[in-house]
């Protein structure tokens, strides 16, 4: 049974240059009310069945929040129809309607009533809400004395404990500390198992993968793809990658041009050029930092000092970083990060974490990994140099890609050393 039906929905926003919102202005300065139209949604068709958990993904400005607001009936479409069956609760922005001078308990009553609950219903839910928020000790204090985390926790507890048939959530799960986040996700799973239909916007693809039965990717107000979560997310990531590749190639072109200009005035023209070239093919992706210390070249070697980009799991690997110092700096931390091609961070460390103090900047630093026990897959290497507070001098994402092959058919990210004991 479809509980949410969206039929050819279009929504535009008017962007006023100089908006007159009084009667006087509207009469006297008629031509002041010029505006541009921007279509946020262009013909969305959508059916969501009862009990489905749907993840909305897409870039900023792609219309995700607009769609959620339409489903909540905070705004209405310019064209098309939206049909919703059942009680809707939305967590678009938390804590709307909280009153700082009222106590937590009073605010629960106030807030829950805004969600359309009656006194009796709230009475029944009160204990659940308070215990979910974990604010038992503070519940009779005025909300103005709460920390922002506590505030959000209370707000989330109210919103999620409203018995809704349909729950709409907009990127609000990044609430509170890790343990509270975990609780929220557990609660969502519980609601999902109860048959609540959940639609949520998230930039956390892993969470979408974990929770959703279906994903919808919105792109410029259209549905670019929808259906099986993994496929949709992969399509989306592909799109992001090609997009950032195009952008970064342009960036690095500009960068190289500018470096070249600088270099001409210097003496080591030829060497510089060569080194810049070295960095060029790897520099397809993102790079940032103030370049006080600049990474020139990065490569990976096996134990025979041969440059390699395909490794067998368990091999010894040496990562070599060449750099130059453009400006005197007090402290330097070098770091590496290894990411799988689905953006999972497999390992990351730096000289600060490992307690290496770098006194001399010699232009080269190596890190040796005795046992690269990653599982088969494609990996990317990030290299960074920054100060001890994390302010980057030079940070290059995906400077290299390498493959790891495993001889066996293990699964996961790394191979954990293990033994079987048959007793």
């Amino acid at each position: 049974m479809d509980v949410i039906k969206v039929k050819d929905v279009w929504k535009k926003y008017k962007i006023y240059h100089d908006k007159g919102s009084t009667l006087k202005e509207r009469i006297l300065f008629k031509n002041r009310n010029r505006y541009e139209e921007r279509w946020a949604l262009k013909g969305i068709d959508l059916d969501i069945k009862k009990g489905e958990t749907v993840g909305l993904i897409g870039e900023n400005g792609s219309g995700k929040s607009t769609l959620l607001k339409l489903l909540t009936k905070i705004i209405y479409p310019n064209k098309g129809e939206i049909e919703i069956k059942g009680k809707v609760s939305s967590l678009l922005e938390l804590g709307a309607g909280f009153h700082p001078d009222m106590t937590g308990r009073e605010n629960i009553y106030m807030n829950a009533s805004i969600f359309g609950l009656t006194k009796e219903e709230i009475d029944k839910k009160l204990d659940d809400i308070i215990s979910f928020s974990g604010l038992e000790d503070f519940i009779d204090n005025p909300v103005r004395t709460y920390s922002s985390g506590m505030y959000m926790r209370l707000a989330f507890s109210v919103a999620i404990n409203v018995d809704a048939d349909i729950l709409l959530i907009d990127e609000v799960l990044a609430v509170g500390d890790t343990s509270f986040q975990k609780k929220c996700i557990e609660k969502m799973v519980e609601l999902k198992n109860k048959g609540v239909t959940i639609v949520f916007v998230s930039h956390d693809n892993n969470m979408v993968k974990r929770l959703c039965d279906k994903a919808i990717w919105l792109k410029n107000g259209n549905i670019a793809s929808q259906g099986i979560v993994k496929d949709v997310i992969n399509n989306y990531l592909d799109h992001l990658n090609t997009k950032s590749n195009i952008k970064c190639t342009e960036d690095s072109k500009n960068e190289i041009n500018s470096t070249n200009n600088q270099v001409i005035s210097e003496r080591e023209v030829s060497i510089e050029k060569e080194e810049v070239k070295d960095i060029k093919p790897a520099n397809k992706n993102k790079r940032w930092g103030n370049k006080y210390v600049e990474i020139l070249q990065v490569d990976m070697f096996d134990k025979d000092n041969k440059s390699k980009h395909i490794f067998i799991s368990g091999e010894t690997v040496r990562i070599s970083i060449k750099y130059k110092v453009n400006k005197k700096v007090d402290d330097v931390v070098f770091g590496i990060g290894i990411f799988r091609d689905d953006e999972v961070c497999c390992y990351g460390t730096n000289t600060f974490i490992d307690n290496y103090k770098i006194d001399k900047l010699t232009g080269r630093i190596d890190v040796e990994i005795d046992n690269l026990n990653l599982i088969t897959g494609k990996y990317y290497l990030d290299v960074a140099v920054h100060d001890k507070f994390g302010l980057p001098y030079d940070y290059i994402k995906k400077i290299l890609s390498f493959n790891v092959e495993t001889r066996t058919e293990e699964i996961g990210v790394v191979r954990l050393a293990h033994k079987w004991h048959i007793l």
Binding site: L23, K24, R26, T72, I75, V88, Y109, M110, G116
Partner: protein, 258 residues
């Protein structure tokens, strides 16, 4: 329409909480706080009484009571409408972020005004007894008049609260409109002072039958004109249907306009 009423009923707890919050901030939780809200009407009463019984000299016995029984209901109407005008903007955080039937907002303003009026009637009753005008059995008709006034007030409140989102200066324009409206309603003067040829125009004003009825019941101690009250009720219902529908249409863009 029935669906809408059902939904408003479902959100009754919200309405109750908003009214409670409003009354609590108004009365500050004490009897003195409650009396404080009557400082303004009492001052108005004193001023009008001085002017119209000593300077302009309207020959009415116990003029202050004649005025008082009309003034309080008028203040209920005028403040409700004026506060309603700003209520959507004042609650923009809610309107932009949560769905709830938007009509709850003006409804809560008018309802808390009504509660205030009901308390005010206690003071009116006490004054009637002290001033030896006394109260009569015709008091049983009072609830009917209150209901009719509530409907008419609600109708105008819906209208201005929605329109003010689009025309923000409406709130200020209303101040002048309300002053004019006050003088064109027989509050200070009795209806018999209005020249015959203008009388019909006064009855175009939906507040005229209301105030006249209050005076009949409370000051003169007689039954109100039921035909007049019935027509007034009918007109009230017509304008509330009209203004509610306007509200329903205009509320679709609230979140974008504010």
């Amino acid at each position: 329409m029935i669906e809408n009423i059902k939904e408003i009923y479902r959100y009754r707890e919200m309405l109750k909480n908003l009214v409670k919050k409003d009354l609590r901030t108004r009365y500050k939780g004490s009897f003195l706080g409650f009396l404080w809200t009557f400082v303004n009407p009492l001052l108005q009463l004193i001023v009008y009484t001085i002017i119209f019984s000593t300077v302009m000299r309207i020959n009415i016995d116990k003029f202050y009571m004649f005025l008082f029984v009309g003034l309080l209901p008028w203040i209920f109407f005028s403040t409700s409408v004026q506060v309603s005008a700003g209520t959507i903007i004042a609650n923009k955080d809610l309107v932009k972020k949560i769905y709830f039937p938007r009509e709850i907002l003006p409804l809560s303003v008018v309802t808390s005004g009504l509660v205030n009026l009901l308390f005010g009637f206690i003071i009116i009753f006490i004054s009637l007894i002290i001033s030896k005008i006394g109260i009569t059995v015709s008091l049983v008709y009072l609830p009917i008049v209150i209901i009719v006034e509530y409907i008419i007030t609600l109708a105008f409140s819906f209208l201005v609260s929605a329109l003010n989102v689009y025309f923000r200066d409406l709130e200020h324009i209303l101040g002048i409109v309300m002053m004019a409206w006050f003088y064109f309603t027989p509050i200070i003067f009795p209806i018999r002072m209005i020249p015959k040829e203008y009388l019909k125009y006064f009855f175009l004003n939906p507040m005229t039958p209301i105030i006249v009825s209050y005076k009949d019941i409370l000051y003169y101690g007689r039954s109100p004109d039921f035909l007049m009250l019935g027509i007034s009720m009918l007109i009230g219902l017509l304008i509330i249907i009209f203004s509610y529908n306007v509200f329903k249409i205009l509320q679709k863009n609230f979140a974008e306009e504010i």
